[in-house]
Amino acid sequence: MNFVRRATSFNNQPGLRSKPGKAGDFVLPGAKITAFSTSIFQRMRAMDNIGFDHIQKSLHPRTNRDQIFKTGEAAGASGSFFFFSHDRRFIVKTLTGEELRLLEKILPALHKHFKKNPGSLLSRIYGVYTVEMQDYQKVHLILMGNTLRFDNNLDISRIYDMKGSTFSRLVKGRTKSSSTLKDQNFVSNQFHVQEIQLS
């Protein structure tokens, strides 16, 4: 709980009056943070041995300043904003209300799926929070584990984000090896990917 309190302590806006919240609500001067389905996320974090100390260390506002300010530049395809923690262990993304409702619906089943399939390729979700501040629209945030961890960033050859479609799935212009390319780049690059066994 501590990490959220610290994460917003730099915000010293006039207090937003909040009623005493339910368990899992963070009441702060200037902002109110509601944590969703805390017990399920607690168990999903425990499955991956992630404690609050890890999250606190990775997402400390001082070390993540640059990451957070860069967020505006890197809007995802869905129009969501996201940033990686400075150590690239976590990714924080905005969620739309629709996505939040969907997640609430499927969360118990998703948790069961991860318990039954520890090797699942789905990216893991470690928490969902709604941040409300005076004069601002409320924002839903999702905390996820990063799945791309290269042994050496200099050895990155290509990164692709693929949806199985060739409609408007091309990244144009000059790209770096660390740029995320799409389906049409994958097809035109003709990069040979060897067959692997997905367990």
């Binding site: 991956d48 041995n49 995802g76 395809a77 869905s78 262990r89 969620l95 629709e98 996505e99 969907l102 997640l103 520890p118 090797g119 699942s120 390729l121 789905l122 990216s123 893991r124 584990g145 799945t147 791309l148 961890r149 290269f150 042994d151 050496n152 050895d155 990155i156 050859s157 290509r158 990164i159 692709y160 984000d161 693929m162 949806k163 199985g164 409609f167 408007s168 091309l170 990244v171 144009k172 212009g173 995320t180 994958f186 990069f191 990917v193 060897q194 067959e195 692997i196 066994q197 997905l198």
Partner: protein, 90 residues
Amino acid sequence: MNIMDYSILLGIESKVLIKTEMGDFTADETDRSASVSSTAELERFKRHRFTSPDRRWTYHVSIIDFLQFWNCQKVGEQFLKTKFLGANKL
């Protein structure tokens, strides 16, 4: 009808194969213990890592963005965005 949408994220990393009398191995197989901070952490990334049969590549595979719906509204939205904003802005 709502169809769930998702992306496959594929990262391709090249590996340098070192040939020795005791067999071939890749650079990080020799110093992996030093570069990884904890075993729990290694496990977390291991499920997304696959080594190519010739061991020259590591493929990082995951399924992301699985909370979006792909429906008719989205198709129309995408069309308009492509038309008026240009595809590169997406």
